[in-house]
Symmetry: C2
Subunit: 219 residues, 2 copies
DNA sequence: ATATATTTTTAGACTAACCTAAAAATATAT
DNA sequence: ATATATTTTTAGGTTAGTCTAAAAATATAT
């Protein structure tokens, strides 16, 4: 059984590995967890002791299979709770993260399995991120950043890269939501902005937005 | 904002005060929390510092109004989560306590208010205990231990005193549940056992059970 | 290749929440 | 009333998780 703090480290390493492969640096972890590198070194030693990570001094850290499974289970809980908050308790997608950050640490296998069933086995969380199954496997879908699409390409909005409240609320204001069909009408090379068609209307989105929105291209 | 540990102390003092009025002893708290008296003294000082309790050395501890409100809010969360687990996630009434013990510490006013609404504002938890409202008030109902009823008195089962898994599962086995009508047929002075009528059948219950079951008498 | 900058680890401290053992206060029994 | 028992507090330690500052290792730039 892991402490809340240990779980937060494990989850963070998992997310960093998804982005940057093996050998996650002390500093990278410290930055994500808003703590100091020296604290990370301490914790890393403990996690290595517990066979969650492999660790060679100065070489960064990598999750073991056991560590990966543990991490996936925490992520599974986090995302299932997010679905619960949005689907059942009227939270909006920009409000769920902080609470899920707490709920993910509740220890009860029955709770999480029953929650999964109650929510009818959702496959993705409110931000479009996949929910790992009990074994820790998660299905990856083919998705591309909106900014990488070419003119006239069409797709469906399936996720966000940055899921900060600010970004999500901004998307709300623009009427952008998961499941919406988007067509790239025009790309502006000067500032990287795009003119897109959505809900039959055309609007312009900045490069900043376009490089944070995931699109599943229509074949 | 209080730590999980502080919250557990506050809640425990609250429950003890309900049973024994003011001036809760260090030892009583230690026993309930399964910790040492010296640890309790430490924590009591901190809580007194934070104006949760009033404390005079060797005189025991009493919740302030602020302390009472804080406690009631924790109890509110505990009981609402218990209702959720039973009503929505197929937990039985003997399985919920341990999980609610964790869930009660989640910090999010919106979460608990939405949960309350989602559950349609329940008034009692699965054990018949009242759920405090947002202000910390809880409605008390007139209830008596089954063991105090006289022959031929009739009432409805509305709660349990001991809510240990063992007792609750035993009640399940006997077919006793909240809401069941019970009539005292006969009292056995020798061992304090009772013959009762329930669901049209008569059965005998030991004194141990009769003094852990709350009945609301039919006027 | 060497100097400089950056990253990582170590050393030493702090706080929260525990503990044991001893001392002090209070309660109980004769 | 005094002696004894019990309860409560104090004193001093431990562990988890954090911090700052300094030392060591590694990376980068000339
Ligand atoms: Mn968390
Ligand atoms: Mn999410
Ligand atoms: Mn608790
Ligand atoms: Mn209960």
């Amino acid at each position: 059984m892991f402490s809340q703090s240990e779980e937060n480290y494990i989850k963070t390493i998992y997310h960093l590995e998804a982005d940057f492969k093996k050998g996650i640096s002390t500093n990278a972890i410290a930055k994500k967890l808003d703590t100091k590198a020296s604290s990370v070194t301490d914790m890393i030693k403990k996690l290595s002791e517990k066979d969650v990570v492999t660790y060679k001094k100065y070489q960064g850290v990598t999750l073991t299979d056991f560590g990966k499974k543990t991490a996936a289970n925490i992520v599974r809980k986090h995302r299932l709770w997010e679905v619960f908050l949005v689907d059942k308790l009227n939270f909006s997608w920009d409000e769920v993260h902080e609470v899920a950050e707490q709920l993910e640490h509740i220890k009860s296998p029955k709770l999480i399995n029953e929650l999964d069933a109650f929510l009818e086995y959702p496959k993705r969380d409110p931000h479009g991120d996949p929910i790992p199954d009990k074994e820790g496997n998660l299905q990856i879908i083919e998705k591309s950043l909106l900014s990488t699409l070419k003119e006239n390409e069409i797709g469906v909005c399936v996720g966000v890269d940055d899921s900060s409240s600010e970004f999500l609320r901004f998307l709300d204001k623009q009427g952008v939501a998961l499941g919406k069909q988007i067509k790239v009408v025009e790309k502006e090379p000067f500032d990287g902005s795009l003119v897109i068609e959505m809900d039959g209307k055309t609007l312009s989105v900045s490069n900043k937005i376009a490089s944070n929105l995931y699109i599943q291209k229509s074949r």
